[in-house]
Subunit: 122 residues, 2 copies
């Protein structure tokens, strides 16, 4: 049902946690399943995402996509991070079952919300 | 949104793992969200559940209810374990938001499936 990469990122999720005094924080909820996610970004003066952490109450698919998404935006510019879609994240994970695609949206939405929070503060 | 007990069992889930050569194993899926769970029971000659472990790909609510459910059936007889409903588990957790009630069904169904597996083998 799940690819090896999904299982790897579910069993050993990368970048779980919080960032104190983060440059941007995004919290989103998923109406379909009621799950929530929070994404923390640390962005330097050159607009580079130096660090990113997430916390979620979501399922294994939400954990795996967030883990992969944080890996994909780390070290990138804000513009590059905005181009990391949930489609790109799912491809990097070798796919997700259709019923779990809505879970992958949490990561994309939380990153966008955190970038928006950063933009509003600067 | 979530009670302290739910957060406690989500952050520090009890009885996560597998039991080798378990007396009964139950695997169930949740049609609503596509999540899966497996429950392992170790039942002694007197019909007492000596040990119980679970693994799930489900969300935080699924983790918390499974964790609480395993605590409630451990040390109990098969008959007593059958009486641990998802309603009892939710009450022990001080409730769950309505949108997450379907998640709590995974634990009850997985325990029943594992007891059924045990009964078929004996
Ligand atoms: S949303 Fe699937 S188990 Fe909770």
């Amino acid at each position: 049902m799940y690819s090896e990469k999904v299982m790897d990122h579910f069993m050993n999720p990368r970048n779980v946690g919080e960032i104190e005094n983060a440059s941007g924080v995004g919290t989103v909820g998923n109406a379909k399943c009621g799950d929530i996610m929070r994404m923390y970004l640390d962005i330097d003066d050159n607009g580079i995402i130096n660090d990113v952490k997430f916390k979620t109450f979501g399922c294994g698919a939400a954990v795996a996509t967030s883990s992969m998404a944080t890996e994909l935006v780390k070290g990138k510019t804000i513009q590059q991070a905005l181009e990391v879609t949930n489609k790109a994240v799912m491809e990097a994970l070798d796919g997700l079952p259709p019923v779990k695609v809505h879970c992958s949206l949490l990561a994309e939405e939380a990153i966008h919300a955190a970038l928006w929070d950063y933009a509003e503060k600067h």
